[in-house]
């Protein structure tokens, strides 16, 4: 019997291992009405202690324990620590045993994965008025980072740290998952529009 936990791929697979789409602007015609609604700021907490600045200790402990399990299940796995490091991650750790792979004598799965760096949560709406511990907490998502500052959760990139940005170990660090307009520009400027799209109108641009 072959081991079912690790795919025994002898023939070359030609298909994508995963295809996930975020479906960002689902409605057709969304192009015409771009506004600030696409901004998404999220908070990353490095520890349950940092989380307790904003939420109850019970919610933080429970949420982080679940996120840690999720990380062990969803983070990419490498056969050796060297392979994990070579993939661009500075910190790698042994992947824990899961229900699906219990064969390793050492108690671990024998695989390596990037170390979890923090836990990400969407910022609560409203803000300001609610005191600590009163906000309902979302399920945190585990986050890990590569050497270039890209942040990942599971098998996908979710954000990127700004150059020089580090995580605050004691409180929330806010990162942006999408673009936010920078607001008014300095100086008086004139803007002309409708300079693109007149050629070929009515025909498909695709080929």
């Amino acid at each position: 019997m072959s081991n079912s936990a690790i795919p025994q791929s002898t023939t070359k697979r030609r298909r994508s291992r995963y295809v996930t789409t975020l479906l960002v602007g689902v409605a057709a015609g969304a192009l015409a009405s771009c506004d600030n609604a696409q901004d998404t700021d999220v908070n990353i907490y490095q520890s349950s202690e940092a989380c307790r600045q904003d939420y109850t200790p019970e919610a933080c402990d429970q949420g982080f324990a679940e996120a840690k399990t999720q990380h062990a299940q969803s983070a990419p796995k490498f056969a050796t620590r060297e392979e994990c490091l070579a993939a661009g991650f500075d910190n790698c750790e042994a992947a824990p045993t899961t229900a699906a792979s219990t064969q390793s004598a050492s108690g671990g799965s024998g695989m390596f994965m990037p170390m979890v760096m923090g836990y990400m949560m969407g910022r609560t709406l409203g803000g300001g008025m609610s005191s600590v511990g009163q906000q309902p907490m979302q399920q945190p998502r585990p986050v890990y980072a590569d050497r270039s500052g890209f942040l990942y959760s599971g098998d996908r990139a979710v954000s990127r740290l700004a150059p020089g940005q580090a995580l605050n170990p004691n409180a929330a660090t806010t990162v942006r998952t999408r673009m936010s307009p920078t607001g008014a520009l300095a100086g008086t400027r004139t803007v002309a529009r409708s300079g693109f799209g007149s050629t070929g109108r009515g025909m498909s641009a695709g080929s």
Binding site: R17, V19, L22, A28, F150, V191, S198, S204, A205
Partner: protein, 418 residues
Amino acid sequence: MHRDVLAPREHWQAKVEKIGFDWHTSLTDKGEKLEYWDENACWVLSPDEVDLIEAATNDVHQMCLQAVDYVVTKGLYEAIGYPDSVADLVENSWRRHQADEKPIYGRFDFAFPGLNDGEVTPKLLEYNADTPTGLFEASVVQWHWLQDCHPDGDQFNSIHEALVAAWSDLAKASAGPYVLHLTSFAPHPEDEGTVRYMQDVAIEAGFATKMIAAADIGWSSPEDDAAGESYFVDLAGEKISSLYKLLPWDWVLSDPFGDQMAKAVMGGSLRVIEPAWKLVLSSKGILPVLWKLFPDHPYLLESHFETAQFKSGSDVFAKPKLGREGANISLATLGAKGQVVGAPHASVDGPYGREGYIYQAAAPMARAEGRTLSGQSCTHHAVIGSWVIGDQSCGIGLREDTSLITQNTSRFVPHRMG
């Protein structure tokens, strides 16, 4: 390679809409429904056939890069349908094609009847290098179809993974701010759908993104001319420094803002994806250039700028240099001096062709006897759209038509390996 007739998934429309595919059915001019996504059948390819398509795609991609170099070096812009005024932009972009003007994607269309038809090779019909579509259908929709219908099956399709990797490379190679604007015509469900998918992929690769309709892009200049630079802006006034455009370069350059865009790219303040050197490859004039550089190459079809160069009795397609989606293409038999003998075997109307035509020998395609959706017997002809992402072949999507000419009404049919 063969075609299996299948029962479509129950409620397939709802299934594909759930993953964001909202242009699966279109309406004809007469208001009849026309299925664009067609899972009443699938094509089955052997691993050997996939290996052959992959090899052909990688080789033809490299040959195309040599052809760009040839066109740029010789200044052959007018021969392929462009004014000489594009030379500065194309040369500037081409000089940087291995640095910050790398390509993301392109789709080669191959005629390939399969290995059951004898020892044949895929033959390049054309290269959609600048604004290829059918990307989401190939990368995502047929992947989900396989997952539903053949969860243990395989498919020549790692397009999604390759796209994420290509955009990540682009992000990691740049100094930031990793902001990408994406544009197309709007409203246009199919083009917007393709742009939406590209936005998804760019987000996954680490970009902050924003969509903007082509007509909404602004050109911002200081009121006092000496007080600073001019640049493109979005509706919020934010500077556009990287722009993915599902607009053909030749249309963009003909637009009122075309000169500004060319200058911004040459000055290094704006990156446009695909890069401007793809202009050379998006003209069908590249087909006779390839034939001249690589005569009798097994992956190419005989192609010329003049019909007189073909042997008498040849079946030849006429294709407008800058046409799209099968428009203005016709098929005819040529006489001794290149003149058309008798009536054309097939032709499609359209708005293109003022810039001139190229001529290409006809080739056998994948074909299967079958029935149309309304039950009439017919012959299905399939063209293999083979994707190159970065510099690597990584998957295919098949378009099928009862006509010999693939056009915008041709159906997308999924495939699997078997």
